[in-house]
Structures are given as C-alpha cells and as structure tokens.
Assembly symmetry: C2
Homo-oligomer: 159 residues x 2
DNA sequence: GCTCCAGTTGAGACAGTATCTCAATTTAGA
DNA sequence: TCTAAATTGAGATACTGTCTCAACTGGAGC
C-alpha cells in the first residue's frame, strides 16, 4: 500500500511543491483511506491517529493532489466530494447506491469512445467528464425483497 | 412558447397542487427562460419584471416541478444547478464549455443502453444518472486560435 | 359571495461544503 | 545559518440550498 508514497512524494518534488509535514500526513492518509473517501473521513482518520492537520490544509492539499494528477475528485453535487488515488488505476466511472452509499466502479471503454465521438461531431474539446449512476445496489435490493416477504402487509407500500 | 403553460397548470391541478400567484409566475418564468437556467437567472428575471417571488419559494417550486416531472434538474456539483423544461423533449446529456458557459445538448442512445447493460451486469437498479462533458466549445477554440495568431509571442504560453 | 383550513409564502435563520485572509511558521536552496 | 517564498491554521467568509414559523391564501363547500 504505502509503497506508492515515495512515487507520490517524487511527483510533488518534481513539481516544486514543498514537502511539509502536513502534506506527508495527507499523502499517507490518502493511501490509508484508499478507495473513495471524503474530507471528513480523512480528518477523522487524522484525529484518531493524533495527527494535526487543519481542515483548510486538507482541502488545499487535496486540490493540489488533484492538480498534479495523483488524485481524482468525484463531484457528487449535494454530497461532499469524494477522492480516489489515480496511480495505476484504469479510468472508470461509478454507480452509487442511494440506500447504503456503496460505490461500485465500472469500466466501459465504449462509453468513453462514444463521448469522444460526440465531442468530435460538435467540435467540442473535452477536458473532463462526470458519469455517475445513482440507484439501488444488489445487496440493498435483496434486503428489500426479504423485508417484503417477512412483512407482506407492507409489500405494496413501496411503489 | 407559453402555449405549454396550460398543460403545466393542468399537471399541477391533477396532482392537487395549489395554483398560487407565485407558482403561476414561476411556470411563466420557466417557459420564458427556457433552455437551461439557474435560480439566479429566474430571480433576476422576476426582478426585471417587477414580479414578487421569494428565493425560498423559487427553490421550493422548482423542486416541486422536478418532482411532478415538468422540470429536469442538472446537478453541476460546484456551480449552481441548472433546470430545463422536460415536456416533449428527448432525453439528452450536456457538454458544458468551461470558457463561455455555453451548453450543448447531445443524444446518444448507445451510451444510455450501455449504462443499462452495466447496471444489469452488477445487479444494480439505476434510478438516475448524470453525464456531463466539460471542455472548450468550438467557438471558444476558434477564438483562442485567432488570438494566438494575432499575438504570436504568447503562442506557446497556453500549454 | 362567504367561510374555513390545509397548503403556501416570506424573511431570515440555519446547515453544509468549500474557500479566503493574514499573521505566524516552515521549507529548501544559497 | 540565513532568507525569501511557500505554507499553515483559526476563523471569517462565500455560496447554495433548506428550514422555521407566523401570516396569508386558494379553492372546496356552502
Ligand atoms: Zn446499497
Ligand atoms: Zn473509483
Ligand atoms: Zn465556449
Ligand atoms: Zn438540456
């Protein structure tokens, strides 16, 4: 896991970005949290570890990491944004369960290609895109079905 | 344009939603603004027209119109959400120019189908999705090119 | 038209995410 | 070590959007 830290440190060095204690903590925290995390998750991680990093610095550093291409920001609109490490990961999009918050990644090169194609047709130069599918994950669907079976009186109330 | 107003009014009636003066103003404003508008645009439209509708009511009514299916909300994350009338319009997605704010719509059924396919494979029940492509529109790209030509000294500074 | 009340409104408080300010501190290079 | 410039932290601030609650009103019923 943390074997990626030196590479990330080097990336910052190469960009002339100073390696403060806070940024080291944040790099480590990012790798520890992994997956998809938000600012609060990172901050509570720091609190548990007794690491001192202010909220402002966390926001600033995450923005910096996004800028240098180490992190990807997933903008969810109303909810707090999520972040995920990019290094060595294939470009993917997300399905987000509105019940349990589960995040499922998917890769669909044909969708990516079609987006390029659409842009080409319009003379539009794409820089970034967001594709999120909101819905109910398999587990939550199964749970719903089980509850309806054990409580038939409510079986019709969900629609 | 405003010929759609009676139909929208009827939709509210059918749902038992009261037709207040404010809601009439908002329906009219929605049709006047048309295209893709945000809350501020609607509010300034009302100011210009001397129409009194509070911010809270605008937010509330827009949410209501989304709920009854007359309006679609486009969640842009950091920016204020956009709204667009749905009636009679084909489902589409948006390209958004980060320079001039221009919004270009596109329809790509194959992308929609692939999303369904991806969900099916994961046992994920899709309820909603967002697909926005951010980039530079054709007009802005041309403008950039023209400026580089007339100001060759800066030709290399953009990358 | 009049009455009545549940639904609606408005002003401003409030919630939540994220950025900004600026004095104090720290990094990194000479 | 010394210094300039970058960075940090605490709190203010910006901004979108929702909530509170007293006052108001649409529209059904008479
Ligand atoms: Zn779920
Ligand atoms: Zn992901
Ligand atoms: Zn443009
Ligand atoms: Zn549109």
């Amino acid at each position: 896991m943390s074997s990626r830290l030196p590479a990330m440190v080097q990336t910052l060095r190469d960009r002339g970005i100073r390696l403060t204690a806070e940024r080291r903590s944040i790099l480590a925290g990012v790798l520890t949290c992994g997956g998809h995390f938000d600012v609060d998750r990172l901050l509570s991680h720091f609190r548990h570890q007794g690491v001192q990093v202010s909220r402002a610095t966390v926001y600033r550093s995450l923005n910096t990491l996004v800028e240098v291409g180490l992190l990807r920001k997933i903008d969810l609109g109303d909810r707090p944004s999520l972040y995920e490490p990019i290094e060595g990961r294939e470009h993917h999009e997300h399905m987000i369960c509105v019940r349990c918050g589960e995040i499922i990644e998917f890769v669909e090169p044909e969708i990516e290609r079609l987006q390029q194609e659409v842009c080409r047709r319009s003379g539009f130069e794409p820089l970034d895109h967001t594709l999120q599918i909101y819905g109910v994950c398999h587990a939550c669907n199964c749970k719903d079905a089980a509850e309806e079976c054990s409580d038939p009186a409510r079986a019709g109330a969900g629609g």
